[in-house]
Each structure stands twice: as C-alpha cells, then as structure tokens.
Amino acid sequence: MDIDSGTVDYVARLARLALSDEEREQMRAELSDILEHAGRIRALDLDGVEPTSHPVRLLNVARPDEVRPSLSQEEALACAPAAENGRFKVPRIIEEA
C-alpha cells in the first residue's frame, strides 16, 4: 500500500493539521506501512455480515425537556484562548472579497 504525498496533503487538510515537510514525508511512510497491515481486511468477503458500531445495542435516550442549571457564561469562557463580550473570539472566518 503506497500513500503518495498528494494524499497526505489532502488528508492533512481535511484533518486541519499543518504538517511540516519533514512530518509529511514521515507520515507518508508510516501511513503506507500501517494501512498495508490494516488493509488486509479489505480482501475479506463479508457480504451479508452486518456492521457493528457499538458493542451494546444503542437506543435513543431522551430526558424531559426541563430547564436545569448549567455552566455559567463566565465558567464556560474561563479557559478560552480568547474571549470578548461574553463570547469565544476567533480569527477571521469570512475572507474579504
């Protein structure tokens, strides 16, 4: 299984990881190795086998829609890297035209 550097760049972009050149090359080699091993199961014929997402059967869990105490705005913002006017502060999201 050979992962090329274009794939590494594409996946890193999806994962929001600004990898350095050195990391990209190392990642390419390691991912190739690991996916080679893990990819062995691709050859298995598993038609008709149901997938399992979870070891116990999951049911929707709901609770009564009641107002309950929660974290205060102050507590929620206390460890934010940047906050302003009671909100999380983030860098520019929409580029100027």
Binding site: A18, I34, E50, T52, S53, V56, P81
Partner: protein, 500 residues
C-alpha cells in the same frame, strides 16, 4: 504483609491493599490524615524515579482526609472506603484541578466540572492524591507518547510501565497510592497492569459512565481500576459502576456487588483457551508462566478446553481502523477556540486551527488522526471503516459461540514483559502489534481482567494472565481471578512487590 500483622506504620502501610486500609480506618487504628501523609511522603521519595504523576494534589488530599476522619468519628462514614486515597489518570476531568490528557494542547486547562467516576469516588470519600501520566489522549502502550515525560516501571526504571495508563500503574506498583483509575480502549489498563504486576480490570462496555472522560474512541473506551489485589479491583469498580444519565451509552440496569461471592472458588468452571493464540511471538518466559497458570486453574477444579476464534487474526487491523476513525472525529474539538492552546491567532480560522493542532498534538496523535481521517474519507469509507465494523461483528459472533461451551476465556495479557524505554518508539506498527491479546475484547465489549501470574524466568519481570467473562458477568470474572490470586500467593508477598 497482611492486615493485623503489626502496627500500621511506615513502610508496611504503603503496601497494604485498599481493603486492608479500609479495615484499619474503620477500627480506628489508623486515620485518613496519617495514611494520606504517609502516601504523600512515599510519593516524594519514589516519584522522582518513576514520574508517575503529572499533577499532585497533596493539599486537597489532606483536606479531604480530614473530612473523612471527621465523618468516621461521627459514625457517618461515606462508604466502607471513606478516607482511602486514590489517583486518576489525567484523562478524567477534575473540577478546579488541571487536566491535560497528557497533551500540550490542553496545558493549563482547568475543567469546570468533575467526571462521573471522580464524582462517585468523591462521594465515597476517597481523597484524590493527583493526576497521573499517560500516553497523550491515551494513544500508546508505554507512556512514551506523553507530551510531558515518560513514566518508568518500578520493577526496572529503565523500562516502560506500559500504557496508556502507565502513570497510574507505576504509582500503584510503587506503593505511592493503594489504587488508581485508568482507562482501557485497547488494553490500556490490562497491559500496564500486567507489566507492573498489578490487577487491571476492564468492565463490560457501558458499565461505567464515560461522562467527563476525555474521549479517544467512544465505542471502545472504558474506565478501569488498577489495584494490588482482585478484591480491591472489584471494590473500586463497584464504587463507579451503574447507570448515569449523563452518558447515553451507559447500561441502564443497576450494577451488581462484585464482592458478593468473590471467594466462592472455581470448582467446575469451564475455561476456554483460544486456539488461534498459539503463543507465536511471545517470550518463552511469558509462555511458561501462562502455562503454569492454566495448570493451576485445573488444580483448583476448573476444566480447560480449546475454543476457536478465527476472526481474532483480524483484531489488530480492525482495531487500528476503528479506534483512529473515532479519534479523528473526537479530537476535532481541539481547535484552539474553546479551551487549550492557540497558535497563529492573528491569521484566519483555518490557519489558526491547523497550526494549533500541529503544534499541540504529539506525533502519535497526529498519526492516528491521519489514519482515521483517511479511513473515513470519501471513497475509502466502505473499504476500511465499513470492513472493520463487519470484522467487529465476526469477533462478537465468535465469542458468543465460544461462551455456549465455556464460562470464561483465559489467555496472556501481553506477548512480552515490560520493554526498555525507546525500544519500540521508532516502529509504530510493532507497538500496535503488541496489543494482540487485548484489543478483541474492546471490540466485543466483554469484561476482562489482567491478574499477576508470577515473574518471567527470562528477566524477573511480572507476567499477566487475562481472564475474560461474558458480557455483564464481572462477578464470575472476579471470582476466578480471586481464586487464582489466592492460590498463587504472589500478590501481597515480598516477591510480588518491586524493590524500589
């Protein structure tokens, strides 16, 4: 040393089990403040050599110990274990106490709430001695992936304590705390338990709330105790087990009392030995101890029979697709916005997110995020993740079939004893392959315990035996482990303790 064999002081005290300490506290021979003080002293003496703790909370522990003593003097003990200190892997969030998950990306974060496990242990009166080291976000088998420093094995400080809950294992094995919490996603409590000569017990998936446990792979993660006796493991598990409305995967039925009938013996129990676990790749010293253990189980009146698990050969590939896939999704929340560090805050959002994550996460975390993102990406989802989910079904079916003819399954915990620091860091795949005996039971959700089965004649280091029960049959698992532990006589003996 056993309870009542001498006055509770000094060296002997730190080696007692939580159960013995609870008796001494109940009888008034010992106060929690004395005990907590002795453990703090012990930590001061041994922790510089093993680096078990990321953050110690001595003051908080002494304060909680004083409150426990006051409750006991009023005859209002919060639980039988009121005043017995505990430590938590730094993956459990603790209100007002820094929690890093072993990663620089969370350095300095102070959570505004307690994990359910922590809340229930506080409720039982257990003073918190501190937060222990781990492989960053629980990804690893040695603690060498910690963003801060590796922990060391008290049996040989040139070796790893195992991982990812290696800090908790090192602390308990060194006598710095009687018991501690870890988490087990692919063996992260059973393997360090095995490598440090301790009991590491994973409950059935869903039995203990995951609320406030920083998520790695949500369909696999389970809080699990590390202790110096089977009885302690059953007791600590029982404190935290049971339904929690804050975790939608929490099993709604009430938890059993795992201590009830624990000394019932194993006469007539049927143990399955997995045909496909041939021992290939295992050290001879490990195989010898595990074979001795099988003989001992027979001597105690159990029967052994072979069971076949053809799907288990695909356990590692399935695990190393499913766990990274879930991790890549769970770790998306670390984006430099709500908590933790931020890099390049004066650029745009995507650059800030990407730079923050590249700088904050360690190499193994990035590797797994990349594998998981790849396995979930368009065009590959069915070939990798979908296939792995179907293998998971096969593993569950194989186990169900086996449990029609046996009560328990036994196998080694790890193919080797504790390895040297640095020995496997350059080969991530080799590190993954060492989880071969533990990951199937995370994929299936079965309860599984590692119990010490003596020292390897190769290197004098501890070997773990793994006992796996049916879903929600923790009681039979503990009963078998207890009978084995008592007959072996390793735990609590001078041989069962590192010369640290």
């Amino acid at each position: 040393m056993t309870a009542g064999s001498g006055p509770p002081s000094g060296d002997g005290l730190v080696w007692r089990t939580a159960t013995e300490l609870a008796r001494l506290l109940a009888s008034g021979e010992l106060s929690s403040v004395e005990l907590t003080g002795a453990l703090i002293e012990r930590s001061d003496a041994v922790d510089p050599g093993i680096n078990a703790y990321l953050h110690r909370t001595d003051e908080l522990a002494l304060e909680a110990a004083g409150a426990a003593d006051a409750r006991r003097s009023r005859g209002e003990a919060a639980s039988p274990f009121d005043g017995v200190p505990v430590a938590y892997k730094d993956i459990f969030v603790t209100r007002g106490v820094p929690t890093t998950c072993g990663s620089k990306i969370l350095e300095g974060w102070v959570p505004p709430y307690d994990a359910t496990v922590v809340e229930r242990c506080h409720g039982a009166g257990l003073p918190m001695l501190g937060k222990t080291n781990l492989d960053q976000f629980a990804m690893g088998s040695s603690t060498e992936n910690s963003g801060f420093f590796p922990s060391r094995n008290p049996w040989d400080t040139g070796r790893v304590p195992g991982g990812s809950s290696g800090g908790s294992a090192a602390a308990v094995a060194a006598g710095a705390v009687p018991w501690a919490w870890g988490t087990d996603t692919g063996g992260s409590v059973r393997q360090p338990g095995g490598l440090c000569g301790l009991v590491g017990a994973k409950p059935t998936y869903g039995r203990i709330s995951r609320y406030g446990m920083i998520a790695f792979a949500s369909s696999l993660d389970q809080a699990s105790p590390l202790t110096r006796s089977v009885e302690d493991a059953a007791a600590l598990m029982a404190i935290a087990a049971g339904h929690d409305p804050c975790d939608s995967t929490s099993i709604p039925s009430p938890a059993e009392n795992y201590l009830d009938g624990i000394d019932g013996g194993i006469e007539g129990l049927r143990f399955g030995i997995i045909k496909e676990f041939t021992g290939e790749g295992s050290q001879p010293g490990v195989r010898a101890r595990v074979d001795d253990a099988y003989t001992r189980l027979e001597k105690l009146g159990a029967t052994l029979q072979e069971v076949s698990m053809p799907s288990f050969q695909h356990g590692i590939p399935a695990y190393y697709l499913i766990a990274p896939a879930e991790a890549s999704s769970n770790l998306a929340r670390f984006d430099g916005v709500r908590y933790g560090s931020r890099v390049a805050g004066d650029t745009n959002i995507v650059t800030m997110n990407s730079m923050t994550r590249d700088e904050g996460f360690g190499a193994e975390v990035k590797r797994r995020i990349m594998i998981g993102t790849y396995a979930l990406s368009a065009g590959f989802y069915d070939a990798y993740y979908g296939k792995a989910q179907r293998v998971r079904t096969l593993i569950i079916q194989d186990l169900r079939r086996a449990y029609e003819s046996v009560d328990l399954i036994v196998c080694p915990t790890s193919p080797t004893t504790a390895f040297k620091l640095g020995e496997r860091t350059d080969d991530p795949l080799a590190m993954y392959l060492s989880d071969v005996y533990t990951v199937p039971f995370n994929l299936s959700g079965n309860p599984a315990v590692s119990v010490p089965c003596g020292l390897s004649s190769d290197d004098g280091l501890p070997v773990g035996l793994q006992i796996v029960a049916k879903t929600l049959d923790e009681k039979t698992m503990f009963r078998a482990a207890y009978a084995f532990e008592k007959d072996l006589g390793f735990a609590g003996s001078p041989e069962g303790r590192p010369r640290l």
